[in-house]
């Protein structure tokens, strides 16, 4: 369910957490319909339709060149879509959507700030557009152990990233759009970012997080969209994705068993003989019951069924007719596309 701008503006005033508690559930904070962007003849994204509900941490997954940054820039009104449209907080995104951006904090994939200016200057500069100092500025500066007196050109990559994160979050925006937010950060600061995201979500905010760091997505996201070659190929809850899609199976039988014993089962592939009596395989989809029934036909000494990590699921989506290399090469060939 999407709601109109006036209802959303009421939510701004009261906070989305309150709004949701009062029943305005499933408010769409981000919505795109058929969003398409071409750079001349080069494809950026194509017919991309997604929806991000209020209070969600939406992970936007895809390799370099798949169209993640293009999507984000279209959402922020930095790029004009070739066709289709996007809306944020109930308002259609336009190239001049400054009102919408008042409620959005953004960390770019490649942080580039005014090199000759200090962190403090940037914080004051951003505050000038948003009607005063951010409510979270001091807290974030302290938690990230950031020194705002240094000029940007003197900062390391990690410290520039910290500054970008502080700038994005300092005004406690309703929507955080984070493009590779932990890039260049050490594990401690990565954890701080995750904690801050958790806190923002608890406060009723929404996060759209683009990443190819799967552990990160697994750690913080509750819903994920997977983009491949400019197309959204899947959009699911992380738990569902992890739970039903892919499992690793290893069975030790009580007698020698050839891979062909499992290989003909639908949804089972990559069957290998670990030893004369042990088979390993990959199980895709809701076929566990069939697999277990087949296995039960022989004496089983041991069995392990392990849920695949998001990385395996992710790679599965990028497998093109079993040839993952082709998909990766395709994406790599789009290096010029943001």
């Amino acid at each position: 369910m999407s709601v109109g701008p006036s209802a959303l503006l009421q939510c701004f005033a009261r906070g989305f957490g309150t709004c949701q508690r009062e029943g305005a559930r499933a408010v769409e904070i981000i919505s795109t319909q058929g969003l398409t962007k071409y750079y001349g003849k080069t494809r950026g994204i194509e017919d991309l339709s997604l929806s991000v509900p209020a209070g969600a941490v939406y992970g936007f997954l895809g390799p370099n060149g798949s169209g993640k940054t293009t999507t984000i820039r279209c959402l922020l009104g930095m790029l004009k879509p070739t066709s289709g449209e996007a809306s944020i907080l109930g308002q259609k995104v336009t190239l001049d959507g400054s009102d919408v951006r008042r409620h959005v904090g953004y960390v770019a994939g490649e942080v580039r700030l005014y090199e000759r200016e200090t962190g403090r200057w940037h914080l004051d500069y951003a505050a000038g557009f948003r009607g005063g100092k951010g409510v979270l500025t001091d807290d974030l500066v302290e938690r990230f152990e950031f020194d705002p007196s240094k000029k940007v050109k003197e900062l390391s990559k990690g410290n520039k990233q910290k500054l970008a994160l502080i700038l994005a979050m300092t005004h406690d925006p309703d929507l955080l759009i984070l493009d590779e937010p932990t890039s260049g950060l050490d594990p401690l600061n990565q954890e701080t970012v995750y904690q801050v995201i958790d806190e923002r979500i608890a406060a009723g905010r929404t996060v759209f997080l683009s990443s190819h760091v799967l552990s990160e997505v697994e750690r913080v996201c509750d819903r994920v969209g997977i983009i491949r070659a400019g197309h959204l190929v899947a959009e699911e809850n992380v738990e569902d994705l992890l739970g039903k899609r892919l499992r690793h199976l290893e069975v030790r039988f009580g007698e020698p068993t050839a891979p062909s014993f499992l290989a003909d089962l639908s949804g089972v592939d990559a069957v290998t003989a670990v030893s004369d009596v042990t088979l390993a395989a990959r199980v895709k989809g809701d076929v566990v019951d069939d697999v277990l029934k087949r296995i039960a036909g022989r004496r089983v000494a041991d069995i392990t069924i392990q849920q695949a990590g998001l990385e395996d699921v992710f790679l599965e989506f990028y497998r093109s007719d079993g040839q993952i290399e082709e998909s990766v090469a395709e994406s790599a060939g789009e290096g010029e596309v943001p």
Binding site: L79, V104, Y106
Partner: protein
């Protein structure tokens, strides 16, 4: 910005200071001994060399000043949009709640301020220090020189600003504007030798820049005001429109 302004102040002061030493009849004899082709390059021959205007046009304002202020305004204008987009800082700026039109207008106001600063640095030293060296432009002449000089910079920087709103890095707008200026200057030079080449003069920005005549009290051709004003204003308005509609990342 600082160095261009400081350089112009010092250059203007130097030329004012040198006038009593090398200006006047002796200077005219020296200049007139040069081949006319060389004089044309420095913007001479259309004003009397033994006059104050002839001295300033040949020694300073005819060519050197044009080169210095053109470099200054083109560099500034080329960086205004394209430079920020290329550096990536425009992405940070446009992530803030600010409209594109406001960003564009802010850049243009800064550009106009810079043009005024350059005009002050160029002409105020001549007017202020002139009496110490026997130079008196007079208020009317000073303001005409100031206003027309500023308008010349606007006409040169405006197209650079427009190109800056189109491209993604500052190099191309700077190079294209500089190349176009060079062609205009060559066209002006050629038209001094060839009647057949004069057809381009009515729209040539360089042709209208005759500071020697202004200093000697001649009025500026109305077409000069119009051409400079129109090129400057149209370019800047177009820059706002283009920037408001383009992809910025």
């Amino acid at each position: 910005m600082f160095w261009f302004c400081t350089g112009l102040v010092l250059y203007s002061w130097l030329m004012t200071w040198f006038y009593p030493k090398i200006g006047g009849g002796q200077y005219a004899d020296l200049i007139e001994s040069m081949p006319p082709e060389v004089l044309q390059i420095f913007g001479g021959t259309e004003v009397a060399f033994d006059s104050l205007g002839g001295y300033f046009q040949t020694e300073y304002l005819g060519l050197m000043w044009m080169i210095i202020v053109s470099a200054a305004v083109v560099l500034f204008a080329a960086r205004s949009f394209a430079g920020e987009i290329g550096a990536g800082t425009m992405e940070f700026l446009l992530a803030q709640p600010i409209s594109r039109a406001r960003v564009a207008v802010t850049r243009i106001v800064a550009f106009l301020g810079y043009v005024l600063l350059l005009a002050v640095a160029s002409f105020v030293p001549i007017q202020a220090l002139g009496p110490m060296y026997g130079i008196d432009l007079g208020a009317g002449t000073f303001w005409t020189l100031f206003a027309f000089g500023a308008l010349f910079m606007l006409a040169v920087g405006g197209p650079a600003m427009l190109l800056s709103s189109v491209y993604r890095d500052a190099g191309k707008p700077g190079a294209i504007t500089a190349g176009a200026l060079l062609l205009l200057w060559i066209a002006d030079l050629v038209s001094n030798f060839s009647e057949a080449a004069k057809f381009f003069d009515p729209v040539n920005l360089v042709t209208y820049w005759q500071p020697g005549k202004i200093i000697n009290g001649d009025p500026v051709a109305p077409a000069g005001w119009w051409i400079y004003g129109a090129v400057g204003v149209v370019s800047l308005v177009a820059a706002i429109i283009v920037f408001s509609r383009r992809d910025v990342a």
